[in-house]
């Protein structure tokens, strides 16, 4: 076990931090207040290579490991959640899933431009009538000659209105529930595919969350990722990656709460002393430190398993649950520490609170993670080997090849 970051990991962290601080931090209060969306930021992330960070160099990515990915997510969400969300859907849920399950041809066609940041991608599983119960989705895919015809609605999809590529899940046979699902890559511009944005959100107001509607969208059979009936497994392994980025991002949100709170504790006086001197305020600070450090350790453990290509569903779920709960609690306490000022957007902590709320719902609700952890502990749940296991990070792949 080694807790030292490598020089490259430090460089990735510093570069992403500078990018977010320089390009987004000065504007974010305004963007959030107006619900303004600035996708040009993603172009810059693409130019810097952030949108292909963990994808091997041979597929146009940076070839960095999962610790670097975690550090990048932390830095992005320390500025605003919408920046980390693009990593979750574009990199975690879509690109890494193509890397794991796609054929060589599919990787060349979609993964390479995504890793280079030339195309943006998202992941569409949730529907108006099915979220946690993903086996029950109603979007239908019907075989017709050498293509499938898709009909249905997707809801709460991040980057729905921005992405070029969509990893869409549909059922081939509703009576088969989760065994009947299949995964397809759809491209913007396909006939019958429309998207829109959802307004009136509590948080991530500088980001795009939306819906996708498919009306007789004809999708060539070669756009199916994996095999018919494998859709549910693909969705779950995608979520192993997405959850990881959410957990790592939550660490950044906790850190931002901690930094803002410490600063305010030193500035604000009450009863003749800095409010940081009050033990009940100290308790909130201590809990933020605990949340940050424990969440980070869980994230880094999951990262180590991912680096080596070892199954990590259980560990990633634990990291996601712990980190997102801790982030919500930290943000809530940060508002408390700021008193009435925390209740206005003069300070960033109210934005942190609103942004932290979503992550207790998406990528597995808090309740779903509790059920998972209990089932693993009780022996009701066992992970079986996948047809396509998650590949190790590039550096570890190279190590293995040498050995």
């Amino acid at each position: 076990m080694d807790f030292e970051l490598t020089p490259e990991q430090i460089q990735v962290r510093d570069m992403v931090r500078e990018f977010a601080q320089r390009e987004v931090a000065p504007h974010i209060r305004d963007w959030d207040a107006k619900g303004e969306y600035h996708p040009e930021v993603f172009r810059k992330m693409g130019e810097l290579g952030i949108l292909g960070l963990p994808i091997p160099e041979r597929y146009g990515g940076g070839g960095f490991d999962y610790v670097s990915l975690a550090l990048a997510c932390e830095e992005l969400e320390a500025v605003d959640t919408f920046l980390r969300v693009v990593i979750s859907v574009h990199v975690g849920l879509n690109s890494l899933t193509l890397l794991q399950w796609g054929t060589e041809e599919q990787k060349q066609r979609w993964l390479v431009p995504q890793a280079r940041g030339e195309k943006l991608a998202t992941f569409a599983l949730t529907e108006p009538g099915a979220g946690s119960d993903a086996g029950n989705i109603q979007t239908r895919a019907v075989r017709d000659g050498d293509s499938y015809v898709l009909n249905g609605e997707k809801m709460w999809i991040s980057l729905a209105n921005t992405a070029d590529h969509f990893l869409v899940f549909a059922t081939l046979d509703p009576s088969q529930k989760h065994r009947g699902l299949a995964a397809f890559m759809l491209e913007r511009g396909m006939e019958g595919l429309t998207t829109g944005s959802i307004h009136g959100k509590l948080g991530i107001r500088a980001g795009d969350t939306g819906w996708i509607s498919m009306q007789n969208v004809r999708v060539p059979a070669e756009n199916m990722i994996g095999e018919p009936g494998e859709g549910f497994k693909i969705a779950m392994s995608a979520i192993d990656q997405g959850r990881f980025t959410v957990a790592a991002g939550a660490c950044g949100l906790i850190r931002a709460c901690l930094e803002a709170s410490i600063k305010y504790c030193h500035e604000r006086q009450a009863f003749g002393q800095e409010i940081g001197r009050f033990q009940l305020v100290q308790q909130m600070i201590a809990k933020m430190v605990k949340g940050y450090e424990t969440s980070r350790l869980l994230v880094f453990r999951a990262a180590e398993l991912k680096n080596r290509g070892i199954r990590n569903t259980r560990e990633t779920s634990l990291a996601k649950w712990v980190a997102c709960d801790a982030a919500f609690e930290a943000a809530n306490d940060a508002v408390q520490i700021h008193g009435a000022y925390g209740f206005s957007n003069e300070y960033p902590v109210e934005r942190y609170l609103r942004n932290s709320r979503g992550a207790v719902i998406y990528e597995g609700t808090r309740e779903i993670h509790q059920v998972l952890q209990a089932e693993y502990a009780l022996g009701y749940r066992v992970d079986r080997p996948l047809r396509c296991p998650q590949p190790p990070a590039q550096a570890f792949e190279e190590q293995e090849a040498r050995a």
Binding site: P7, E8, Q11, M15, F19, L53, E57
Partner: protein
């Protein structure tokens, strides 16, 4: 064209904390690249890109691994760390060591920063130029290279001045130059494969006598902050009221 850039690693100005008992910075203060030096690196990279060929070599005296890695990731071709037990000494020692290295490298052009954010003497650039006996252009805020001649825009008191110089020369950068690029992930990955040397003053033939500082370093202290006031004079009463309200609001007193 071979371009050398002199870069220094300094305590990160955004993270500096002073330890009163130690009489020094808190140990483990995060390090950063001196800001002006990043502008110098950017200028060197742009000139190389304009010419389509050449080499950018960065060098630093004293511990500077992160800084040199960063310059390589930005696009520099090679890095040299000059390290020794007596380094850093005073600015003349630093300049002497750098000049010895530069004589060996014989670059066509040298970029440095105008001054550092830590010791901030602004001596090193001029001293190196003097030791090498080449022209010095300081306070550079703009440049253009055409037909073997550099046209340099300098910031001077009350205005700007244009100078032309034919390399070799030493230029000192200010931050009005093009904003330094962030290293890309590809750059960070490629930097690992670029040549990076570590040498000592002895390797450069610098004698122990030359490494003895003439200026001695006494210690560090922080000036006590004292409260300052604002005086509103010769303003019309309505404006004065507005300014007073703004002043109080800014401090969250009303």
């Amino acid at each position: 064209m071979k371009i050398a850039v002199l870069v220094k690693q300094v305590p990160d100005p955004n993270a500096i904390r002073y330890d009163r008992r130690l009489g020094d910075l808190v140990p483990g203060t995060p390090q950063a690249t001196n800001e002006y030096d990043l502008y110098a690196v950017e200028a060197a990279l742009r000139l190389k890109e304009q010419l389509g060929t050449g080499e950018v070599v960065v060098a630093s005296v004293g511990p500077a691994r992160e800084t040199l890695n960063r310059c390589l990731a930005m696009g520099a071709d090679r890095a040299v760390a000059i390290e020794g037990p007596s380094l850093p000494g005073d600015s003349l020692v630093t300049a002497t060591v750098l000049a010895a290295w530069l004589r060996r490298e014989a670059p066509d052009l040298i970029w440095a920063g105008q001054e550092t954010s830590d010791a901030g003497t602004g001596n090193v650039g001029p001293q190196v130029a003097a030791l090498l006996d080449i022209p010095l252009v300081s306070n550079v805020v703009g440049w253009e290279y055409r037909d073997g001649v550099l046209t340099l825009e300098r910031e001077i008191e009350d205005g700007h001045q244009f100078q032309q110089v034919r390399p070799p020369a030493l230029l000192c950068a200010l931050s009005a130059l093009d904003e330094p690029r962030l290293p890309t992930l590809r750059g960070i990955m490629e930097a690992r494969r670029k040549p990076s040397d570590r040498i000592s003053p002895a390797d450069l033939g610098v004698s122990d006598d030359e490494l003895a500082p003439v200026v001695s370093w006494e210690g560090l202290f922080v000036e006590e902050e004292s409260a300052t006031g604002v005086v509103l004079q010769d303003v019309d009463p309505d404006q004065a009221v507005e300014q007073l309200i703004a002043f109080l609001q800014e401090r969250r007193l009303i």
